[in-house]
Symmetry: C2
């Protein structure tokens, strides 16, 4: 990258950080990412050093360079705590609750967006609010159901630009634990499941959700006795867990006809396929685009006084 950047957009997740060097407005000049997650970093200095190791490669248009961050960097154990905002805050107002990281030196002016908290039932999100802000940047009065698949998948009811309520299912987290730390650890392949196998398993979960723990051991027994293929075993476990999640979430959200799915390509396709089993339509949206759009909106409000 040769051009000087105007500002930096940062998405700091539980296991990865991604930094975009931005031109004035929304244009992307360059991007870098690294496996600096919460688990690897202890304390503000570690976050600042990890961030600089990515950002120092680029030339800013001015110093201090504006930096807008969302995600786990704002957790208590993160870079600097950014307290949760009430879940029903108008998302367009979220940048007002942004926290400035103190003592980051003369090079960077770092602002972290807050997460959202819900009292009843208790729930929290951190990072997803900025992707939702990306949707609000397009349509300030947006109303509808959004799912953001991940380690802890969020299902959100948006009403006129606010989060009316949300729920979390720890599907990805449980899948990884079962795949890596149970008797199934030698039974499952890596990689993306076949779409038809996955959809069939979602339908099985719908038909008998309580069968999960029996069906899961069945993968081991079928591998042992009949040589079940490891990629089919993975597709089934993934489909059974996702089917449970989608069945429950749709019931909680009063059976919407259509859901906006925000994720990377693999997650988006998988959740669209699972929703189709329940005859629910999916609007597919790329998560990185929305993250940048949300950070760009925050950048405009924080550093340019408009938006």
């Amino acid at each position: 990258m040769t051009a000087a950047y105007d500002w930096l957009a940062v998405d700091w997740g539980t296991t990865r950080v991604r930094v975009w060097a931005m031109a004035e407005g929304d244009g992307v000049l360059d991007t870098r990412d690294a496996a600096f997650g919460m688990a690897e970093l202890a304390g503000a200095d570690a976050f600042a050093t990890a961030f600089a190791s990515l950002a120092d490669a680029w030339t800013p248009a001015r110093r201090p360079a504006p930096v807008v961050v969302c995600g786990m960097a704002g957790a208590r154990e993160g870079w600097h705590p950014a307290a949760y905002a009430p879940h029903d805050t108008n998302l367009g107002e979220l940048p007002r609750a942004t926290v400035r990281v103190p003592a980051t030196g003369p090079d960077y002016d770092v602002r972290i967006l807050p997460g959202l908290r819900q009292g009843t039932p208790p729930d929290v999100m951190r990072g997803e609010e900025t992707k939702l802000l990306g949707l609000v940047a397009e349509r300030p009065d947006i109303t509808g159901i959004v799912v953001l698949p991940g380690t802890h998948t969020k299902w959100v009811r948006l009403e006129r630009g606010r989060v009316a309520g949300f729920l979390t299912a720890m599907t990805g987290d449980v899948f990884a634990a079962v795949a890596e730390h149970t008797v199934l650890r030698h039974t499952l392949a890596d990689g993306e499941p076949d779409a038809a196998d996955f959809a069939a398993a979602v339908a099985e979960a719908r038909a008998a959700p309580a069968a999960l723990l029996r069906r899961a051991f069945g993968l081991r027994a079928e591998a042992l006795l009949n040589g079940l293929a490891p990629d089919l075993a993975r597709a089934r476990l993934s489909g059974w867990l996702t089917g449970l999640e989608v069945m429950d979430a749709l019931a909680q959200l009063e059976q919407p006809k259509r859901v906006t799915v925000v994720g990377d390509d693999a997650h988006v396709e998988r959740y669209a396929a699972a929703l189709a089993v329940f005859a629910v339509g999916a609007e597919r949206r790329a998560v990185d685009d929305l993250t940048r759009a949300g950070l760009a909106l925050a950048h405009r409000r924080l550093f340019e006084g408009n938006g």
Copy 2:
């Protein structure tokens, strides 16, 4: 122990081995156990050495001393492979399928009982068949439903001394993986759950089995926002998983009115409480007693030519 023993009874599980020094017949002279599981031992020599480190402490009435073993010692990666018998073998005939471990030297004559395999649906057990044999030793024509809780819980339909069919739920395995390897690892206490909290969670699972993955994350959120007690969090996760298992198993087994629960005290009480939520009665049986009774029956048939 001063008296010389007549024979040794051995229960070799996935994580522990237990050896009983037996008087003539069923009387126990002494017992020892150790954490020599499948994971720690590689190859027949390692099993033989581990066994001798426990058994050599005692004095046999004669050499070679008769030794009867059940469990994972008969797995392919165990002491010596004891092939699975068909699931519907008359359990009283199982000792005929026992395998003699070759080259164990002049001190021990070691016989390993086979596990059981079921073709449709595919399933296997290894160790539990000997506890069932303990029930058959009491009542050769026993008919009824038996549950053997553990890492991989077995639900068995006995018909006149045979296993008519069985299923496995990997409830304990999944509980441990979720408790130790997900975001819940700092949220759950150790120890036995409170009985009332556990039963309430079983009832919740029954009311909405698909809610598991949402409820599980709710433990984390409630701990973060409202200081949920770690022992209550553990009771709930345990109850939700066990409730799923019991709901499914009872449906598969056509809703029995009464189930024999075979386990250690903690497992027996927990499964009896879960069954009570479904209005199913429990007959409680101590697993060690039945294991020894099954091994003693095998010992009589193998070494005394009667039974």
